[in-house]
């Protein structure tokens, strides 16, 4: 009967996630759940995320209590049909717990990949790799003020059959703080050099916000390197940008002043965690970080508007291209995705802000998987 029992275990949302806290159960014991239904909220040090049920069934046991912190892979609950007896479930739990304690340490270690540093020209870039396989690799490019952890809910999922690369742009995260001219075209050259350095001749490119504009510049300057474009709330397709976000991100240096600025990023404001704010404040304290952001903002958004119009690049791009945008984006308007050729697929996600890859990670992952597979 054990094939009728589905263990619900602590998910691994990001590569760096080693444990999570049950912020709350959404389902009471005894209730039926559908596959994909959000059954619990899991809080990591970075973000709180809904946990979708891996299967359909009746939630027979809630093993983890609300507020409890458990390692990735730990047993949270049991899904089974009513026909399965309590004794069978008890036996299943006992076996699971015995196996888990003995092999959990090794699996966690094997899956965990630390970011590493790569020298590209006179820059040092912090890079996170995941996955392997024959499929064309995938490159993530984050946006203004972001870093590779922006892809924490995407990289693992999209690494199932391919190599994936996330990195910190110059001036961001753990990379060199020298941003050069600070334009999307500048960063596209860096991204191309990084691909060369990693021996990747061609990649699917996923770019978010300013990273979308960088992806377009990459497609323009190095079309042979770009297998497809998935642009998430991209810059470069319109003139307007919420400068209260850009200016606030640069100047705010305390939690109280930064939090309202970060609230622009998401539709569900509770997603902006203490840890996320603290991480950004810590990044901004690094020597040269604020100067780098100022230089990028001056180069990309002079006079409160986007400097580069990359619509022609997108229209003339040879390969497949798609756009994913949050309907409630408060930083770049999804209206910029209008009036594009019909060959460019546009996915508009309701009740979603400027970071769909975090806020609607499952939808974004599905859209990208369907698009590149």
């Amino acid at each position: 009967m054990t094939d009728l029992i589905t263990p619900i275990t602590m998910p691994k949302f990001g590569l760096a996630m080693t444990e999570g806290k049950i912020a709350g159960w959404n389902i009471a014991p005894g209730a039926h759940v559908d596959a994909g239904q959000e059954i619990a909220d899991i809080e990591t040090t970075k973000i709180t995320n809904g946990y979708e049920s891996p299967a359909a069934g009746t939630l027979r046991r809630q093993i983890a209590e609300e507020g409890e912190t458990l390692p990735v892979g730990a047993l949270l609950g049991i899904l089974a049909e009513p026909a399965v007896s309590d004794a069978e479930i008890d036996a299943f739990i006992a076996k699971f717990q015995a196996d888990f304690s003995s092999d959990s340490a090794t699996t966690t270690q094997a899956e965990h990949a630390d970011p590493f540093m790569v020298n590209v020209g006179d820059l040092t870039l912090r890079v996170q790799e995941a996955g392997q396989g024959a499929e064309t690799p995938l490159l993530f490019i984050h946006g203004f003020g972001g870093d590779l952890s922006n892809w924490m809910l995407n990289q693992t999922t999209l690494s199932a059959t391919r190599r994936t690369i996330a990195f910190d742009l110059p001036g961001h995260g753990g990379s060199s703080k020298n941003v050069g001219e600070g334009k999307p075209a500048t960063f596209a050259v860096t991204a191309a050099a990084l691909l060369d350095k990693l021996d990747i001749s061609k990649a699917h490119v996923v770019g978010h916000s300013l990273g979308g504009a960088i992806a377009l510049e990459l497609a323009k300057a190095f079309p042979q390197k770009v297998a497809s474009l998935s642009l998430i709330a991209p810059a470069g397709l319109g003139r307007d940008i919420n400068m209260a976000f850009i200016d606030g991100f640069i100047t705010a240096d305390r939690r109280k002043t930064l939090e309202p600025v970060l609230n622009y990023l998401v539709h569900d404001k509770t997603l902006i965690s203490r840890k996320m704010i603290e991480d950004i404040i810590r990044f901004k304290r690094l020597d040269g970080a604020v100067l780098g952001l100022q230089n990028i903002a001056a180069a990309c958004f002079p006079n409160g508007q986007q400097a580069d119009d990359l619509r022609p690049v997108l229209v003339s791009f040879d390969g497949p291209a798609q756009i994913i945008w949050g309907a409630d984006d408060e930083i770049l308007s999804p209206n910029s995705a209008k009036d594009l050729p019909a060959t460019i697929k546009v996915t508009l996600l309701p009740q979603t802000g400027h970071m769909p890859q975090l806020e609607k990670a499952a939808d974004v992952n599905a859209a990208i998987t369907a698009f590149i597979d």
Binding site: G174, K177, D253
Partner: protein, 343 residues
């Protein structure tokens, strides 16, 4: 980013600032040699607890000055060097030794900017160990930050963790005023993630290590860890605490303390320095004056008794505040009910 100890974080801050700015020099007793040194190995240890290890080898005798036991002269020399263009970091070893060189600090370094009409700069850092719990007896265990906080013209830093120590020490070295930087000697082996790159944390900005609705706990230096521990335990019983680490006692982020007390209505202050005229009394006075109407219960101070730090281990343990004492202070203010009707 990697895990670094409090000791390594301070060492890295010194090294990176010495690399960045040739005017940064170190001066102090045993900072090149010290315990464990033998003839021919000048840099065997790097200070009594190994904080400056490796800096003599990297920067040489021109920038790392080992001095005789002569606080009055080398602190005086550091003050003079700061007034004339260098950015010295002097190590007083144990802060208890300040008695031998207080004039150089109190009447000279702290007064220059004021007495020279704002035209003098004294970019001096004095590092020193403080605190009980190391079984180092009464003359090597005091927490004298209130003494320095009392003196206008000094900035006073009491870092609470490795991350904080690195950023605050870099800020101290870049500051143009004399800064007293106090390291709790029990914390040198504490570890946490500390960025490899240089970074600075501004003075006068408190850090909230916990945020809650019921009680505000203000704690200094090592006591921040105990306050966090108490807050985490209390959270399980449904009492949620804000923990404030002021980072610097001078300047003091009064605004953040007042805002938090206005939110919670209850205040517990944890200060391991002697209880008369210390930071706890200072913060209590501030809140009593500025936020009296917000208070739902009396302010509670958690601190040692007004005695020298005892040498006997059991007594020293009794002397120091710990998480349990903070927890019971929080419970007492939560249990407080006003017995008299408001007039």
């Amino acid at each position: 980013m990697s895990k670094k100890s409090f000791r390594q974080a301070i060492n890295e801050a010194l090294r990176q600032e010495m690399q960045r700015d040739p005017r940064v020099v170190l001066i102090g007793e045993d900072i090149a040699g010290g315990q464990g040194g033998t003839a021919g190995i000048v840099d065997a240890w790097g200070g009594v607890l190994g904080v400056t290890k490796g800096l003599y080898t990297e920067f040489g005798a021109e920038r790392v000055f080992d001095t005789p036991i002569s606080e009055a002269s080398y602190i005086g020399a550091a003050v003079g060097a700061a007034a004339t263009g260098l950015r010295p970091v002097a190590e007083l070893m144990f802060v208890d030794f300040v008695g031998s060189c207080l004039d150089q600090i109190m009447n000279q370094a702290a007064k220059f900017r004021y007495m020279f009409g704002g035209k003098a700069r004294t970019p001096l850092v004095i590092r020193a160990m403080y605190g009980a719990g190391f079984n180092a007896a009464a003359q090597h265990s005091q927490a004298l930050y209130p003494l320095f906080t009392h003196i206008p013209g000094l900035k006073v830093v009491v870092p609470s963790s490795p991350y904080e120590a690195k950023g605050l020490l870099i800020e101290a070295i870049r500051d143009d005023d004399p800064v007293i930087f106090l390291e709790n000697k029990v914390m040198y082996d504490d570890e946490e993630d500390v960025p490899d790159e240089p970074y600075s944390i501004p003075f006068g900005e408190a850090n909230l290590t916990r945020e809650g609705d019921d009680v505000t706990i203000v704690a200094f230096g090592r006591m921040v860890n105990f306050a966090n521990e108490a807050a985490d335990r209390l959270e399980k019983d449904g009492i949620s605490c804000t923990v404030i680490d002021p980072r610097t006692t001078s300047p003091l982020d009064a605004a953040t303390i007042l805002e938090c007390v206005e939110d919670t209505g209850r205040l517990v202050i944890v200060d391991e320095s002697s209880p008369r005229c210390n930071m706890a009394t200072d913060v209590a006075a501030l809140v009593a004056e500025e936020a009296f109407d917000a208070l739902k219960a009396p302010i509670r101070r958690v601190g040692p008794p007004h005695t020298p730090v005892p040498f006997a281990t059991v007594l020293e343990k009794l002397y120091l505040p710990d998480a349990a004492r903070i927890e019971s202070a929080v419970r007492s203010v939560m249990a407080y009910k006003k017995t008299k009707q408001d007039a």
